[in-house]
Symmetry: C2
Subunit: 536 residues, 2 copies
């Protein structure tokens, strides 16, 4: 027997329609890529997004077609996003910082017929379009630079002129909530990137789930700065959750240096902002050097990589609460947040900070488990590391174009590729990437923990720990260290420093001093390269 409630579909067009109808005068503010400030309101965003829909329909775009976007955070990007998903087309966000060859691969793999782009990305388009024959049209967000693209026959237009030829009446939604809405590729370190195809339902639920009090806790009284680029991991869901909450939205464009950010936060009264640690470090450095104080910001979400303790402590001096979050493109992306539970909230400051540095607790609708290499569940004791798996309607089920490859286990969990612990309170902490953990005598040694501790040595500038094959123990840790300029050290003094700080069996078998430690495209240590050159 079914219930007798109204039957609707959780489609994402409803979120902007809600904002326009009930928070229509609430501002959307943005800096363009030159840093000039502009402002509009949700009601007007809705009108332009409907013009985008009509323009796409006129261009022959239909349910399921993939539309590329290549640009930084702006109101036009926001409107193009909604105009696309609201008619059942798929918003495929492209990262302009990737190599042109990679972008070309993604455009072809996704089959983008239309691309919205910042004019700052013109040279990327000139490079890739000759090899992307499926692209029929490029719409530049910034009108003043309507231009022809050399070597390509695609139709080019400016956003305002293009949508200006269409009305703002358009029936949105009306399709199945399982319809695809977004396509976001992982920046895989091995092999080609894999596409995560979000549905309307998964993104709608992600918005409701992440906006809970123990989550982002967004209110209509907030002014949200979307510091994370819209092309990064589904914009952490904020393109949906900010209008859903009726929050004022601030989009920073390309320039996110400390001085620009500080001015933007203070002048626009930003109360909530979300970004990666390096961007926050730039802001805090600016505040430190200029003696500036953050007077408006209340909460800062830090995610994308591990949050250094200094960020938490420095933000606290400005009375800003840090919300450490963890997620991945495959999880829409947010899966856990380090908000305090009842007991942690009552702890002394240093303990609370210790908990806020963990990746945090899961929200309703996302389940976690730890397993060993054989899929057996491991305890949540805060000590036993295991492979972290996630399950829920906001978690990937299969990759785009690889639907026949099973990526879930028998219980329906997705293996994150991370090694983590979970304590009895439910706080999860990532200890390593699965491919980097050192498996010694059946136990796991965290390369990340060893690196963090070794980095505490006053002469160390950068550290990397990799596992090298061992006849008896399978693998043993090798510590590679780049010393600070002018410093000289012996392996013995480094090992003596580690003694007492780590378990005996974690002690590296060898310390090698190196001139350089190679970094990958995202600034993380390239351990694959290190293993290739140091494993013997």
């Amino acid at each position: 027997m079914f219930g007798l409630m109204q039957e609707g579909q959780l489609t994402l067009d409803a979120l902007l329609s809600h904002a326009a109808r009930w928070h229509g005068g609430t501002e959307v503010v943005w800096n363009d890529n030159q840093g000039a400030r502009h402002r509009t309101v949700y009601a007007d965003c809705l009108g332009r997004a409907k013009q985008v829909s009509n323009a796409l329909l006129a261009a022959g775009i239909r349910l399921g077609d993939r539309i590329g976007t290549l640009g930084w955070n702006s109101a036009q990007h926001f409107e193009a996003w909604y105009g696309t998903v609201a008619i059942g087309a798929v918003c495929h966000t492209l990262n302009p910082r990737l190599l042109p060859d990679q972008i070309g691969y993604l455009v072809r793999h996704a089959g983008n017929r239309v691309i919205f782009a910042d004019s700052a990305c013109l040279s990327i388009l000139e490079t890739i379009l000759p090899a992307c024959p499926m692209v029929e049209q490029v719409i530049f967000f910034d009108d003043e630079t309507i231009c022809l693209i050399d070597g390509s026959a695609v139709s080019v237009d400016g956003f305002s002129a293009w949508i200006g030829r269409h009305g703002a009446d358009c029936d949105w939604g009306g399709f199945d909530e399982r319809t695809a809405a977004g396509l976001c590729y992982t920046s895989g370190t091995t092999g080609n990137p894999k596409g995560v195809l979000y549905s309307h339902r998964s993104n709608y639920l992600h918005s409701l789930i992440t906006c809970q009090a123990d989550g982002l806790n967004l209110a209509s009284t907030d002014t949200v700065l979307l510091l994370v680029p819209m092309y990064h991991a589904n914009a952490w869901g904020l393109v949906y959750s900010a209008p859903m909450a009726g929050a004022r939205l601030v989009l920073p464009g390309q320039r996110v240096d400390g001085a620009t950010l500080y001015e933007l936060i203070e002048s626009e009264g930003v109360t909530f902002a979300a970004g990666v640690p390096t961007v926050w470090q730039g802001l805090l450095k600016y505040c430190r050097e200029t003696g500036s104080r953050l007077t408006r910001l209340k909460r800062a979400v830090v995610a994308g990589s591990v949050c250094p303790e200094t960020i938490v402590r420095e933000f606290l001096e400005h009375d800003v609460e840090v919300l450490h979050a963890w997620g991945m493109t495959e999880a829409s992306p947010l899966a856990t947040l380090s908000s305090p539970d009842r007991e942690v909230a009552a702890m002394p400051l240093d303990d609370r900070i210790r908990y806020s540095l963990k990746q945090g607790r899961t929200l309703p609708g996302v389940d976690l488990k730890l397993t060993d290499d054989h899929g057996r569940r491991l305890p949540h004791d805060g000590r036993t590391p295991g492979r972290l798996h996630v399950k829920g309607e906001t978690i990937v089920g299969a990759y785009f174009g690889q639907e026949d490859i099973a990526i879930l286990d028998g219980e329906g969990f997705f293996d994150t590729g991370d090694i983590a612990t979970i304590d009895h309170r439910g706080y999860m902490q990532i200890t390593d990437r699965a491919k980097d953990v050192i498996k010694s005598g059946g136990e796991w040694i965290s390369s990340v923990d060893l690196e963090t501790i070794a980095l505490g040595h006053p002469k160390a500038e950068l550290c990397a720990v990799i596992g090298v094959p061992h006849p008896k123990w399978d693998e043993r840790p090798l510590l590679l260290m780049k010393l600070k300029g002018g410093a000289v050290a012996t392996a013995e003094e480094i090992l003596a420093y580690l003694d007492g700080k780590i378990a005996k069996w974690w002690m590296p078998d060898e310390v090698r001093f190196v001139d350089e430690i190679p970094l990958g495209a995202t600034g993380k240590i390239d351990k694959k390269k290190l293993r290739d050159s140091h494993s013997t």
Copy 2:
């Protein structure tokens, strides 16, 4: 093209499973009907709820069967509720304060084969069971009073003994999220009560929607006092939303007098509580008379009827924030909340209080509209009253047993039967019941507003305004007034008092002084009876 995310069903068993898995040590505390305190934790609730499921399955209960509950708020009631819905049976909450004949009607209409009950309801059961042959089994929540029911052949058992014969392993969920989960009847003032049949999906979404920051904003740091009875309007959704948030849960049993409540709130550290105005008035009166201060409570949700301003001001003296909410059984039940938006939050205190007394703003997923009697939309100008309609997946689509009667308009909206205004900020304010509003010369006069203003006269104890037929204006207002003991007044002095406080055309054509103003079962003025005796 569908997205490629994991496919699950939004079934309500997941909410208690989530609480047990991630907040397993969090307490559920309850007073029994004698006022004695008991405590358990979510992990143990889950085990007992699974035993309930197994016991129901052993009794032949299957998907779609309706299970009655007749009792006050206790852990057993909570566990029986989850044990029922988690196997796809329907939890039908019965209000012990109804007349036995009404309860009997509901049991028969719903077809309850099993009833869970407090032993305090024994005499009700003895009265109704002879005429309810479909009832096979009664399970008393309080074990110490296992008893036979006179004049009935039903099987009787105590909760602990009954579930004790079954294990705590039970596969929950696994059915369609549109499956019916709850059945709650409206206490209609005319005709027989109508049943609202909630689905798993509608209740799950209601939990996510109402827990947003501008909604109930429940966190795992909260201790929630479920003051509203579980039989009242789907317990305002808190049976689902409290465990979803991982909040500590306090269930008060039958005794909710001021002294008992004060002790419960202070000793258990209640931070959040939800109840009707009369219960709050009892608590505040106790505080006033004993000079007691509420030191733990942070937020009080007031709903069920209009919130008097004195409640808001008195709570403020205790640093308790009042959240005025509006809803109805047909809306799961919460539809709007009077949380402050950006502009209201910045207003002076008196203005903020004025806004907090409105019924408030809608949350994402619930749409509102105002229309005239012909279904034409009216403006959101804060002045024009109209019939209030609601739409969304948490709103009723049809009544149970009356599936063939259409209750939605062409746009899919449900007519609430209330008259309201909506201002440009989206704040809705109920001005009348549609059947009580006075239609004079094509315009509407709010009987509620007139009563409130007339009640300001120092000699007035109780006022009622009804419309009486008029040859030219269709209806004109008649003011009925009960004077305070010993007071004497003339119609002229009452009308002179109203002059200048209301629009000229609102002025009652007549004032009648009466000895009594009849009240209905829920304490509201019985205007039907007044119209019957005063319309000529």
